[in-house]
């Protein structure tokens, strides 16, 4: 009998308990007496349901020099994740059932987190014809989340049809909200005082907000579900709050970097901080924190975007967009939201596990984002809330080094991760 006891952990609600894990399931929660079981001492640690990332770029196939499904899974496990959703903008694009199944299989071979492929909304991410959404949904990969991330589904007619179509199988469109016509193709940062001074072409916040506004109206019209990826502006939050009050079926995510990093980091033209959507000013960041705490924003998603070093060593305007996020997401959320008293660990469980699992349909099928109760799968993340971390980009298990957190001191670290009862990470180290 393969038994394991997590001893003396704080549950998200605050009570202390032992968790008996057997055959991949939680068997008992409370005072456990199992003398032959392997023990993980969890005194002082917080047990969360395994983290779920709705927004990960694993780069395989196509850019295996930047990340692979295996190395990305390793980074995810170290970050406390038990499930990740792999974005479709690989090469080739994940826009067929076969491509989706390939990602699923690579994830299973890696075996560290559940890797769920996200399907492209449009063929080749071109924004014109719908990809084979239904075939991807019926495939072994059972795709439920669709996104052209990296690009906005900007054609209103295509977006309307996609929303209508995925309704039949409970799918959701995750929109990269950004009007491509409003700023032009050279935009590379937030448009504002700093971009004016630096001479960098930018996206104004309104380029995001007009698409969020349009999409919630399309969701209302179609009765479908829309998810707003990486919300970055106060105006988007306002629109989402309004839409939810109307009963429109909209959910939203925010990245760790938009919760902490601000546009003034661009003053040295360091492409490490070049990301899409761009880092915004303090005022937006503050509103995003509030919106995450009050539930207007449902989830934290990393937008983990590894890049080979040479793709970042260009002039700022020419460098690749994106930054690493999987390994630091929990420490950032802990530092920004928990250590400051804005959120409890129960809130963290909600925004990093339960809500994303529900948005993607995993909670409903019982696999992820479940409560820590007997009979539930033993997907667990043990967090040391007092753990101190000074981020070292060279200590990362990701293949890439575009780490915007390098040198930062964060509070709250991932001690262990269990995927269906099997430790993938113990004492912060991959198993």
């Amino acid at each position: 009998m393969n038994q394991l006891v997590v001893k003396g952990a704080s549950l998200p609600g605050g009570e202390t308990a032992d968790l008996l894990v057997e055959d991949g399931l939680i068997r008992e929660v409370g005072k456990v007496d199992a003398p032959k079981a392997r023990v993980i001492e969890a005194g002082g640690l917080v047990a969360l349901p395994g983290l779920v990332d709705l927004h990960t770029h694993l780069r395989e196939p196509g850019r295996e020099d930047a990340e692979t499904v295996l190395t990305g899974s390793q980074a995810a496990a170290v970050g406390g994740y038990t499930a990740v959703f792999a974005m479709a903008n690989t090469d080739p694009v994940t826009d067929t059932a076969e491509a989706a199944e390939r990602i699923l299989d690579l994830g299973r071979m890696a075996g560290l987190v559940d890797v769920h492929p996200i399907g492209a909304v449009t063929r080749g991410l071109a924004g014109e014809e719908l990809a084979e959404l239904g075939l991807m949904a019926r495939s072994r990969a059972r795709v439920r989340v669709f996104s052209d991330d990296g690009r906005c589904v900007s054609d209103a007619r295509v977006m309307r049809r996609a929303l209508e179509y995925v309704r039949t199988f409970g799918g959701v469109i995750s929109q990269h909200a950004q009007d491509p016509d409003l700023a032009g193709p050279t935009a590379c940062c937030h448009e504002g005082e700093l971009s004016g001074r630096l001479g960098l072409p930018g996206w104004p916040g309104v380029a995001e907000e007009v698409i969020v506004a349009r999409d919630v109206m399309l969701a209302r019209h179609t009765g479908s579900r829309v998810h707003v990826a990486h919300v970055s502006t106060a105006g988007s939050v306002e629109v989402i709050r309004w839409a939810k009050a109307q009963g429109i079926d909209v959910t939203a995510e925010v990245t760790p970097h938009h919760l902490l990093l601000t546009t003034d980091l661009l003053s040295g033209y360091d492409p490490t901080f070049k990301v899409n959507p761009p880092l915004r000013p303090d005022e937006d960041v503050e509103v995003l924190r509030e919106a995450l705490a009050d539930g207007t924003i449902d989830a934290v998603a990393t937008d983990h975007a590894p890049h080979a070093r040479h793709d970042k060593e260009h002039a700022f305007a020419d460098a690749a967009f994106g930054m690493l996020g999987l390994e630091t997401a929990l420490p950032v959320v802990s530092t920004v939201m928990v250590a400051t008293g804005r959120m409890s660990w129960a809130d963290v469980a909600r925004v990093m596990s339960t809500a994303p699992a529900r948005i993607a349909g995993l909670a409903q099928e019982g696999s992820q984002g479940r409560p820590l109760e007997p009979g539930e799968p033993a997907n667990l993340t043990l967090v040391d809330p007092a753990g101190e971390l000074t981020v070292d980009r060279d200590a990362s298990v990701s293949l890439s080094r575009n780490n915007p957190w390098h040198g930062r001191r964060l509070t709250g670290t991932v001690h262990a991760t269990l995927l269906r009862g099997v430790p993938t990470v113990l004492e912060g180290k991959l198993q």
Partner: protein, 309 residues
């Protein structure tokens, strides 16, 4: 000062020192033998990733008159499109043994990034829409020769501000020298967030060129790029000229002695009427000759002080 990347790198004293040396260099231009030995044995590479005739030749002449070995390298477009990173491109060039790297690049911030990668002295010869510090220095130098001290003098800068590195360097340089600057553009060509920025940086903004020009002690007209005209920034070239051009009529509104500057190349008939370009008060050609003197001065101060190889 190790590099010249931005006017921010210079204090007021540095600017005056550059001008004093430039004045001496200016005299060299009128000699029959124009060579000084100051940079003999030093190598300067002009690395231009963007088309340029006047700035590149100005730097080339400046380096040659100081006896440096000057080599021009031009690359069209971004290095990204060739599959080589900018870092690899400049490290490759510098590995040949380079003392000074004069760099022009279509992307803002490129000169600064390059300065962090290489050991050579880097001079920014224009980075995207960000800065063009030697242009601002030569503009201020030219104005100072005409007007004397710029302290309290009013300078109007008119044109496409959004896309102009000349404007961005000039407002900094003129502010350091005590000038009062008003920048004028249609709202679509005003940089993002200029309200907050201008009040912090000490310049004023206006949409009304007719209100600003009569009060100006000097006027700087900026080039309107042909490619902007179809970009929806303004309805037509004709409308731009009527709204913001230095027309014959507006020439009459200027104080008679007020110098007229233009960094070139000029679109005659668009942002500047021929009568203004060729007026007695026009300093357009003085700017060009001052450009060589100021660049000689900059290269001298950055490179001559260094220990010879």
């Amino acid at each position: 000062m190790k590099h010249l990347l931005s006017i921010d790198d210079l204090g007021v004293d540095d600017i005056h020192t550059i001008f004093e040396t430039a004045a001496e260099m200016h005299d060299v231009q009128h000699r029959s033998v124009k060579k000084l030995p100051a940079l003999r044995g030093r190598t300067v590479i002009n690395m231009f990733f963007e088309d340029s005739t006047r700035t590149r030749s100005s730097f080339e002449i400046a380096g040659k008159w100081l006896s440096a070995d000057v080599i021009n390298i031009s690359g069209k477009g971004s290095s990204a499109s060739k599959g080589e990173s900018l870092r690899d491109t400049v490290l490759t060039v510098c590995a040949m043994g380079v003392d000074g790297l004069v760099i022009r690049h279509p992307a803002s911030g490129a000169a600064r990034q390059v300065s962090e990668w290489v050991d050579a002295v880097v001079v920014n010869a224009g980075d995207g829409m960000h800065e063009h510090p030697t242009q601002a220095l030569l503009d201020a130098y030219t104005l100072q020769r005409r007007l004397g001290s710029l302290e309290g003098r009013h300078v109007a800068i008119v044109g496409d501000l959004t896309h102009s590195r000349v404007f961005r360097s000039n407002v900094k340089c003129l502010a350091k020298l005590g000038a009062e600057v008003t920048v004028v553009a249609p709202p679509t060509l005003m940089p993002a967030g200029v309200e907050a920025w201008s009040s912090a940086a000490g310049f004023a903004t206006s949409y009304d060129v007719d209100e600003v020009l009569p009060k100006a002690d000097a006027v700087m007209m900026l080039r309107v790029q042909r490619e902007r005209m179809s970009g929806g920034y303004f309805p037509s070239p004709r409308e731009y000229t009527v709204g913001y051009g230095l027309t014959r009529e507006r020439l009459a509104m200027l104080q008679p002695e007020a110098p007229i500057c233009h960094p070139g190349p000029m679109n005659r008939g668009l942002e500047i009427a021929p009568e203004a370009a060729d007026a007695a008060a026009s300093v357009v050609l003085d700017q060009v000759s001052a450009g060589v003197a100021v660049r000689m001065s900059v290269l001298y101060h950055l490179l001559a002080g260094e220990e010879s190889a």
